[in-house]
Symmetry: C2
Subunit: 210 residues, 2 copies
Amino acid sequence: MQLHTYFRSSAAYRVRIALALKGLAWDPAYVHLLKDGGQQKAPSYRTVNPQGLVPTLVDGDAVIPQSLAILEYLEERHPTPALLPADPAGRAKARAMALAIVADIHPLNNLRVLTYLRGTLGQGEEAVKAWIVHWTAEGFAALEQMAEGPDFCIGRAPSFADLCLVPQMFNARRFGVDLTPYPKLVAIDGHCQALPAFQAAAPGRQGDAE
Amino acid sequence: MQLHTYFRSSAAYRVRIALALKGLAWDPAYVHLLKDGGQQKAPSYRTVNPQGLVPTLVDGDAVIPQSLAILEYLEERHPTPALLPADPAGRAKARAMALAIVADIHPLNNLRVLTYLRGTLGQGEEAVKAWIVHWTAEGFAALEQMAEGPDFCIGRAPSFADLCLVPQMFNARRFGVDLTPYPKLVAIDGHCQALPAFQAAAPGRQGDAE
């Protein structure tokens, strides 16, 4: 399998954790989001991923964009270890927490949106930082209530929810978001970070890290 | 089952289509997104949905937020008719198209974000409309390439992709987005709109329609 990835992309980071937890080998294809005006916008990459976003997983003939679609695909093709609870209600909880990040925090704070705020809307760095903090805090407040624990977001094994939470916590720290209102999330993040698979997937451990 | 819904919420609309296609009965619990300063923000609703967003599906003990988590739950509990293709690669395509809407178009253009643009960032209606058109056009351009057809987004049966596309097309028309660059999406939308389940789920057919 080949993963089109960028070390600091939190969407790619989610997939790298899944691949590591499932013990699947993969080759990186690096897409630098800042160099050359953004390599993800190049016509050659758009043929792989029409949205011009990372990650994309290539597995034989299957070319799959969207991190959560990739997680579901890996779960169907390589079900062990499971990254969703066994019961439908538990699976729904894990997916809902993942989506609260994937749909309601991350897309508001990713590079293309911040570029639009700075460029087209002429916002300064203070307003851009306030925007990032606002949407992260709103999402984390809900996630703090939704997290069940005791070790991970849902129970005693990592699920899609944790795979999405850890990269978002990384982003939150990078942007200086105050995490003290979210003690459960901080504890879950710490529990995840102790596992080798989460460590291997971290931005600083990638071949394209700067 | 009970669905917390608002007639014009495109996320609730997705779920209403799934329930109709699967022939499942449900009771509406109306959440008016504008009245009372937004009923979705009321503490009583936050106990159901910590994010303060619609929809939420209640099925016995299971209380499920996030439209795509609800679609996956319904698919697992009520697999016929299937709303995902049978093969993992096809399922991944349908999910990726759904997520290109759920994660990369809709969250940028929903009420809470437009309110922030108008309020905190002091943007006028022209800038807000340009914002909506920009993210819709960027997403639809990718979806136009990803759509396989011949009848629906993927093949000859509706999938999650179509359940997300139709409400987003409804929004696009409401906001005056030019749809002529997306003939495949317009044709798929027309094909869907001819089906009774899609008609029954439409905003104008809901008990809280205005």
